[in-house]
């Protein structure tokens, strides 16, 4: 019963002096008491616990959290890219013993890096 779930408010009404509404949880609709979150409007997302909205989901904060997380993903990708080619490939030596580079000198500079780029 500790499992609150986010859902979208699709109806708000006054039910015998108690603020009630309907909330859609990805297709499943439930009767929910909105008395503790009177600021919610149609289309808002709320966290619902045992039939009561206990918190309005802050869309801005939700997006910000995701952004921070995605930036972190981006940082890792960038770091992988700056390592250049070769980290996860067998070392290849040329005939004269010097390390071989991926892509010939004639290939565009970016080709090697993009080929070795991490998950995007």
């Amino acid at each position: 019963m500790c499992l609150g779930i986010p859902g979208k408010v699709i109806e708000v009404r006054d039910d015998a002096a108690l603020l009630m509404g309907k909330v859609d949880f990805g297709g499943v609709r439930k009767e929910v008491c909105l008395a503790y979150t009177p600021e919610v409007r149609l289309g808002d997302y709320v966290i619902v616990h045992v039939g009561f909205a206990i918190s309005r989901v802050d869309e801005e904060e939700a997006l910000k959290t995701l952004e921070i997380l995605e930036q972190m993903g981006g940082l890792v990708t960038t770091e992988l890219e700056t390592m250049g080619p070769g980290m996860d490939r067998p070392a290849v030596l040329s005939d004269d013993g010097s390390p071989a580079t991926f892509g010939s000198a004639s290939a565009p500079a970016g080709a090697a890096t993009s080929a070795a780029g991490g998950p995007s």
């Binding site: 500790c2 779930i5 949880f25 966290i47 039939g51 939700a62 890792v76």
Partner: protein
């Protein structure tokens, strides 16, 4: 579903996990307080993917698990009365009492009904004026606003055949009780996101500074938990001990003031016994004197209750994180979700049930008795 799927992205999860591995230089022991968090951690194998030496202890935040045996036995005694319709959240039905459980009682003819919301119990009372309708008001701060509203509505609308059997517990006193224990190993907490959605996190600030322990208010999706763990380890590595909020999309520092006001109008803080843990001072809610007429314990005389736990069950040690289910001889053999000996195997939020549903160590326990 919006606000769920985005927080389950495996690529992002890998990135946060990599960052946790990068910054961790020492072993750390963290506790996730809430059973809902335990479920995600065990199901996704997050604890097994952490750097070696970083350990997650699964906390006592399973309301079903900590409801004291005495209250369960009282519930059973009240539910057995022919004049009573006993209503409860579904996950309390299979919690073992001393001699039986609510589901078995229902099978024997008692009128026991599952409700999703306490307001549904109130509606049953309105629809059955000649019956006594009792609601088992259990839970942490998350169910308190709902349970308080049901009592306040009963008072406002004079629904006299409605009463509640209260067994409400609070998170912060349990955290300090754990920290005060001489065997405590917890160095940082992931606080329960939805408890804080109701109560805010000001109560946790003195705990963080007094015990010098980082507390990160954390959500329930895999990415939430990974980020919460990352934030807690960052603090530990830097020697900081603050309250931080990972779950900003649902939690504000002040919580939900209207819900707090309703809780405190109906309830007052009192001592509570936690199943498996023992009595903790000022660790729960009880009805205020103004609402005593809705107290099922006063309305029904249940006689003397003698409680007895199953001797094989180590639920107390599981709840305090001293042991894991695999340490228990009954786990997966005598005790399964189909036939639980202790409450942590019943609730989806219980640690034993979380381990069992993730099939941890279950194969090794399959014993052929032929």
């Amino acid at each position: 579903m919006k606000y769920l799927d985005e927080y389950r992205d495996p690529v992002l999860a890998r990135a946060i996990l990599d960052e946790i591995h990068r910054i961790t230089t020492r072993p750390w022991t963290l506790m996730e307080v809430c059973g809902g968090q335990t479920h995600t951690i065990v199901k996704q194998g997050i604890d097994e993917a952490l750097p070696q030496g970083v350990r997650m202890i699964h906390g006592p935040g399973c309301p079903v698990c900590v409801t004291p045996l005495e209250q369960v036995d009282k519930a059973l005694a009240i539910a057995a009365r022919p004049d009573v319709i006993f209503t409860s959240y579904g996950d309390m039905l299979r919690v073992p009492g001393t001699s039986t459980d609510l589901l078995a009682l229902k099978a024997r003819g008692a009128d026991v009904r599952i409700v999703y919301s306490p307001l549904d119990a109130l509606k049953i009372a309105v629809d059955n004026p000649d019956r006594e309708v009792v609601f088992f008001a259990v839970g942490f701060e998350t169910t308190a606003p709902a349970n308080a509203m049901a009592v306040a509505e009963a008072a406002r609308r004079d629904i006299d055949n409605f009463s509640v059997l209260v067994s409400h517990v609070l998170v912060p006193p349990a955290m300090t009780a754990l920290l005060d224990s001489p065997t405590n190993q917890v160095q940082g907490f992931l606080a329960a996101g939805h408890v804080c959605a109701v109560m805010g996190w000001t109560e946790y600030e003195p705990i963080a500074s007094t015990y010098h322990v980082p507390i990160v208010v954390t959500g329930f999706e895999p990415l939430d938990l990974l980020e919460g763990i990352l934030m807690a380890i960052r603090q530990l590595e830097a020697g900081r001990a603050e309250v931080e909020n990972q779950y900003a999309r649902a939690v504000k520092r002040e919580g939900t003031p209207l819900a707090q006001r309703q809780i405190m109008e109906v309830f007052e803080i009192g001592d509570r016994t936690w199943r498996g843990v023992g009595p903790i001072p000022d660790s729960g809610y009880r009805l205020r004197a103004e609402y005593a007429r809705f107290d099922a314990e006063q309305r029904f005389d249940v006689g003397t209750i003698h409680t007895l736990e199953h001797p094989a069950c180590i639920a107390g040690a599981i709840l305090t994180g001293a042991k894991v289910p695999l340490d228990c001889t009954a786990y997966g053999t005598l005790c399964t979700p189909q036939k639980p000996l202790g409450a942590p195997m019943v609730s989806s939020e219980g640690t034993c049930a979380a381990f069992y549903s993730a099939a941890r160590g279950v194969d090794a326990r399959k014993v052929s008795l032929r």
